[in-house]
């Protein structure tokens, strides 16, 4: 068991180190997020009240698309450099690779979110410093990455990989997005736990089932 966690941690560290050296992906994600926030500001020319009501939706749309940008890279780069074979040859459980990749993706997504929140609060003049919202962000991102990593591993082996991932992922991640937006919206609008709990339940269920399925299926996906 300890060696399993060590393997997961090794993968996470490898991905973070690789990203730290190039800083390509996270930079692209951050620039993308700022651009999307600006585009929303110009396309949705809205008043203060509406802005507060749709904040959760705008944020999650942005995070989902930024997340897809990152997910597309996680296994594609491994394939390009042929390092996936090396990973697969390593004497560790294949599912450890899945969890390692999922955690690394979660980390990248959270970095983007931590960067975005204050910026969004600044641009739109609203307070997003609410622990409830942060909990939803953590939980929703975990759900999104757990299903996303699994599907990205499949898409990376198909012909039109970058094109395929959003089509595969978005309909499957819809419950995550719907529940996250509902729960976030409850916190942003100051309605609190009472209104968010039903959506949080869905996120918890999804966040348990999906990694379990990933644990079972990842072997079949990377099998040669």
């Amino acid at each position: 068991m300890a060696s399993y966690f060590a393997a997961v941690w090794a993968i996470v560290r490898k991905d973070l180190a690789a990203e730290w050296r190039s800083r390509q992906m996270v930079t692209a994600m951050l620039v993308f997020v700022v651009l999307v926030i600006f585009i929303f500001a110009f396309t949705l020319d809205i008043d203060m009240l509406t802005r507060r009501q749709i904040a959760a939706g705008v944020l999650w749309t942005t995070f989902a698309f930024a997340g897809i940008l990152g997910l597309n890279r996680t296994l594609a780069t491994e394939g390009e450099r042929g390092s996936l074979d090396g990973l697969l040859l390593a004497p560790v459980e294949r599912s450890a690779i899945y969890f390692g990749k999922t955690l690394a993706n979660l980390f990248f997504m959270l970095v983007v979110e931590i960067f975005t929140l204050p910026l969004y609060a600044l641009f739109y003049n609203m307070s997003l410093a609410q622990p409830g919202l942060w909990l939803v962000l953590l939980l929703g991102s975990w759900c999104f990455c757990s299903v996303g990593t699994l599907l990205a591993a499949m898409a990376a082996q198909a012909r039109s990989r970058e094109l395929l991932l959003p089509v595969l992922l978005l309909p499957m991640a819809l419950p995550v997005l719907v529940a996250s937006v509902r729960a976030s919206s409850a916190f942003v609008n100051g309605l609190g736990m009472e209104y968010a709990s039903a959506s949080l339940n869905i996120l918890v269920v999804y966040g348990l089932i999906m990694p379990a399925l990933g644990f079972m299926f990842f072997d079949f996906i990377v099998e040669e």
Binding site: V147, L150, Q157, L164, A179, L213
Partner: protein, 238 residues
Amino acid sequence: MASTSLDRKPRLLQALDILSALLMLGTIYMVFFYAPMERVMGQVQRVFYFHASSGWVTMVVLIIAALAGIIYLIRPHKKWDVLAVACVEIGLVFAFICVTTGSIWARPAWNTWWTWDPRVVTFTILILVYMAYMLLRQGIEDPQRRARFGAIYAILAAVTVPLTFFSIRIWRTLHPVVIGSGSATAEGGFDMTRPMVWTLLFTLLALTVFTLTLLWHRVRLGWLADKVEELRMKAFGR
């Protein structure tokens, strides 16, 4: 599998062809002449029989597809993959029928072609998910990998589609529950009289038999396509 069974169309399948044709004719009679006119909705209510039945058939075939996926992952044999594809294709067709007939009914009942009701949205998302399934399969050349990925995606779909339903149900629902107790907020619900129940049951039976017949045809087609592929490999060596 025995190749002789592929060369000629099996007797039972021929019988099923005729049976489903008769049942479909019977359904048309039942729906348009036997079933009474609904008092509030009028003629348009008759679309309900096809709507409910195609919804039922869609659920059945897609559950079979997920089960075939599970079996394939445990015991990888081509036949489960062929079955799963057949199920998904047929399921897509019936899902389209279900959404379209629902829309036709919703126009007079809810005064709109489309509404963001959980069931309506779930069914449309279901169509998108299984279209993604077909796209995924198209993108993979290696038949074994294609079958494996298809199986996994079908299982994931069977898990996420119900979750989609529950996540959207947190909104207020508008869709009537005709069988069992109706919800207080549902619009356009109606009580079914005895002939209506019989018509619905008959339509369900007819569409189920028809679907099984289609499924068998599609599985046979899958096998034949496979055989052609094999022969081509043998002849051209690629």
